[in-house]
């Protein structure tokens, strides 16, 4: 089971429906892999239920119930099917499979690192899958804004700890780190950022010119 979790406020934001979709997909993926946080998120949703039940009722326009009763036999719209957990999708929890929808368009960013941008950008929010080769080291970097990441296969080690499947790492402008992927399995992860990532160190400064984060 995962060792690194989103904090309670993240789970509350998820339960209250406040996260942008990409962040919420990341949280729902963690919840799939972490029964502890799933129970905590359920408790926060129960708070939402209690708040709803205690909300002051607003009068509905006349005939609302009749209008609805007349619609009960309408045919149901068909839900989009979530891709099965096979092939490239075998390590992706259902919320992420639904979000990714089609095979990720991998692009080589540098030796040992491939990335695939997922979905359209929304404002400054960007979601991507990252694949780091076994033993691959990322250039030391810091984060311009907020970043959240979940490990889906393999793992990595940085100054903070060892991250494995289901672990969530949150980073902000204070974290400068140099992740190194698992020497045998490498690392597959899903990352969401809401501001550009900045590489530090001499190589990083040059790479910043070429990599559009």
């Amino acid at each position: 089971m995962p060792h690194f979790h989103p904090d309670d406020e993240d789970l509350l934001d998820y339960a209250a429906g406040r996260f942008d979709e990409a962040f919420a997909v990341l949280i729902a993926s963690h919840l799939t892999l972490c029964p502890t946080c799933r129970a905590a998120a359920a408790a926060f949703e129960a708070m939402g239920g209690a708040v709803l039940d205690a909300t002051a009722p607003e009068v509905l326009s006349p005939g609302s119930l009749d209008r609805l009763m007349a619609r009960l036999d309408e045919p149901e719209p068909i839900d989009l099917a979530t891709p099965p957990a096979t092939g490239e999708f075998r390590h992706l929890p259902a919320p992420l499979r639904a979000f990714v929808a089609a095979a990720p368009p991998w692009k080589r960013v540098m030796r040992g690192l491939e990335e695939a941008e997922i979905g359209p950008r929304r404002g400054s929010i960007r979601a991507r899958m990252m694949r780091i080769a076994p033993g691959g080291a990322m250039p030391r970097h810091t984060h311009g804004g907020r970043e959240m990441l979940i490990v889906l296969d393999g793992g990595y080690t940085d100054e903070v700890g060892d991250y494995g499947v289901g672990d969530v790492a949150a980073a902000d402008a204070e974290l400068v780190h140099k992740p190194i992927a698992d020497p045998t399995e490498g690392c597959l992860c899903f990352a969401v950022t809401d501001a550009p990532l900045k590489l530090t160190g001499p190589l990083g400064r040059v790479l910043n010119l070429f990599i559009r984060y």
């Binding site: 799939t32 408790a43 949703e45 939402g48 239920g49 607003e58 309408e74």
Partner: protein
Amino acid sequence: MVIEARQLALWLGRVAGTRDRAAFAQLFGHFAPRLKGYLVRLGCDAGTAEELVQDVMLTVWRRADSFDPTQAGAATWIYTIARNRRIDRLRRERHPVVDPTDPLLVPDPGENAEQGIETAEREHSLLGAIGRLPKEQAELVQMAFFEDRPHSRIAEATRLPLGTVKSRIRLALARLKRELGQEEST
């Protein structure tokens, strides 16, 4: 009139089991005006709120068979539908949820039938638990469900520093989790 959580779950069970329209009308009578109140407080105009209420209650009718009283109370289940439909509709995004049939799902090692019964009771006692919080924490928890950008907005409204708002919400959450018996699993 106060309707007990157990009664609401019973009506929902009848809608699922026998497509009972009278039970559905009872649920509508209880939840539809509250849903409208909730949506209006979140900033919907009255017309959009009413359309969303229809949409949510229609989803309740269609999905009633996926309601599991051992997992959540009726108000919680309907709350999650309202949250999801609102996001679908207003932001044109999906609210991703855990799929209980996902082959990747890691099951809870401690899950058993007894816990399920507690879950049904839990919703009923939750309002009480929120009521037992210190007043300023209880208000923040309620506001947390009614604001799109709660922390900064709450800080503005209460004229408290942002850091204070955050730490009070954190305290309230920790305490509610404790009251709900989550502490041993964190």
